[in-house]
C-alpha cells in the first residue's frame, strides 16, 4: 500500500502539467498485462474465490508491478524512503526475497506431498504383507 502511495506521488512529481505519458514499448505491453491481472485478482477477492490474505497479496503485488513499470522513478522514491541507494537495488532485493519465499513454499509443499505419497504406499504395502514358507529353506 505504501509503495502504491509513493508511486502515485512520484507520478505526480514526474509528469509535467498537460503532457501525455511517454511509455516505451515494454511499458506499453507490460503495464496493461499487470493491470489486467491486478483487476482479475480484485474480482477474485470480491467473489471470495481465494483466501483473503492471498487475494490482498496478489492485488498488491500486481498493482505495484504495474505502477513500478509505468513510473520507474517511483522505485527510486521508495528505495530512498527505505534507505536503499538505487531503485534497481530495491527491485533486486525484493526479487531475491520473493524467490526465497517461493522456493521455501514449494520445497515444503513437495516434502508434504512426498510424505503423503509414502504414507499411502506404506499403507498399501503393509496390507499386502505375506509370510514366507516355513518348510526347509536351506539349499
Amino acid at each position: 500500500m505504501i509503495f502504491c502511495l509513493l508511486a502515485v506521488a512520484s507520478m505526480l512529481e514526474q509528469a509535467p502539467p498537460g503532457a501525455p505519458w511517454n511509455l516505451n514499448e515494454f511499458q506499453m505491453l507490460a503495464v496493461p498485462v499487470c493491470a489486467i491481472i491486478a483487476l482479475r485478482a480484485i474480482v477474485q477477492l470480491i467473489r471470495r474465490r481465494v483466501p483473503r490474505g492471498v487475494g490482498f497479496l496478489a492485488v498488491m503485488i500486481w498493482s505495484a508491478a504495474a505502477l513500478a513499470i509505468a513510473f520507474p522513478y517511483s522505485t527510486i522514491v521508495v528505495a530512498r524512503w527505505a534507505g536503499i541507494g538505487r531503485g534497481a537495488d530495491l527491485v533486486m532485493y525484493l526479487a531475491l526475497l520473493a524467490g526465497l519465499v517461493v522456493s521455501s513454499y514449494f520445497y515444503q509443499r513437495i516434502r508434504q506431498l512426498e510424505i503423503l505419497t509414502t504414507d499411502l504406499a506404506r499403507t498399501a504395502a503393509i496390507a499386502g504383507a505375506k509370510r514366507g514358507a516355513a518348510e526347509e529353506h536351506r539349499g
Binding site: S104, Y107, Q108, R111, E114, I115, T118, A121, R122, A124, A125, I126, G128, A129, K130, R131, G132, A133, A134, H137, R138
Partner: protein
C-alpha cells in the same frame, strides 16, 4: 553361518524381538542374511523396496515376512514401513539390519543387552567402537565427517552416525517417524532421538565390507549431496 556366540544368543533373544531389513535388488545376498538370522530370531520382516530382481521370491522361500513397496521409495521409507509393521505385530524390541551382509547377527544380543541393562530406548551400533573389516580409507573419512556434521546439526555426540545396525525399545520405535526416504534418514533418526529426550547408548559392532557392499554403497558425491539436503531441510522446515 552360525558361531558359538550366536548359539549363546539363542537362549537370550526375546521372542518379541523383530528384525527389520530394507532390501532393494538384493537377490544375491538377502538369502544368506536371512539364513544367518532365522536360525535364532523368530520375527524378521523384509521390506522389498520396489526391487526389479528376485529379492521377493528369495525372501518368500524362507519363514520371514515380506512387505513390498509398489515403487522404490528409499531405505528410510522402507525402514519406517518395517518398524510400523513390527509395532503392529506387538514388537517389544526392533532391530534394523542391512540386507547386504555387512552386519553380523552375533551383534544383536549385545544391542538388546545394552537396552535392558542401561534402561536406554536406543542402542546404536558403532563400527569405530567395534571393528570395521575392510573399510576403505575414503569411507572412513566420510563417516568421520558425518559424525562431525551430526554433532553440529543435532548436538548429538556419537562415534558412528551412519550405522544401520540399531536396536530400539517399543517406546523408542514409537517415538520415531522417519520422513526422509533416502539415505538422509540416518541423520533424521539421530535428530529425532535427540529431540525425543529418550536415552540412547552406543554399542561396539562388527561391520564387514566386501567388494559387493562397497560397490553398492554411498559415493563421495552422494555423501556431499546428502549433507546439502540435510542443511536445506534444517533451514527451510
Amino acid at each position: 553361518m552360525q558361531d558359538s556366540s550366536m548359539n549363546r544368543a539363542t537362549r537370550s533373544l526375546p521372542e518379541d524381538l523383530w528384525i527389520v531389513i530394507a532390501a532393494y535388488n538384493e537377490e544375491k545376498r538377502v538369502g544368506r542374511v536371512l539364513d544367518e538370522l532365522l536360525g535364532t530370531v523368530c520375527n524378521v520382516v523384509v521390506v522389498d523396496d520396489g526391487s526389479r530382481d528376485e529379492t521377493a521370491a528369495v525372501v518368500l522361500r524362507r519363514p520371514a515376512w515380506l512387505i513390498r513397496h509398489g515403487i522404490n521409495l528409499g531405505q528410510g521409507a522402507s525402514l519406517q514401513t518395517g518398524i510400523s509393521f513390527a509395532l503392529q505385530k506387538g514388537a517389544r524390541y526392533v532391530v534394523t539390519f542391512d540386507a547386504d551382509g555387512q552386519h553380523t547377527p552375533s551383534d544383536i544380543p549385545a544391542l538388546v543387552d545394552a537396552l535392558e541393562s542401561t534402561g536406554s530406548h536406543f542402542a546404536l551400533g558403532s563400527r569405530f567402537l567395534g571393528h570395521a573389516e575392510g573399510i576403505p580409507l575414503t569411507r572412513k573419512i566420510i563417516l568421520r565427517m558425518a559424525v562431525l556434521f551430526t554433532r553440529l546439526l543435532s548436538g548429538v555426540r556419537l562415534t558412528d552416525a551412519h550405522n544401520g545396525l540399531r536396536a530400539m525399545s517399543r517406546e523408542g520405535a514409537q517415538s520415531l517417524r522417519i520422513t526422509m526416504n533416502r539415505m538422509e534418514h540416518a541423520s533424521e533418526i539421530i535428530d529425532q532421538i535427540a529431540r525425543s529426550g529418550l536415552k540412547y547408548v552406543e554399542v561396539p559392532v562388527h561391520i564387514r565390507y566386501t567388494a559387493d557392499s562397497l560397490a553398492k554403497g554411498q559415493r563421495t558425491s552422494a555423501a556431499i549431496r546428502l549433507g546439502l539436503k540435510l542443511l536445506v531441510e534444517r533451514t527451510i522446515r
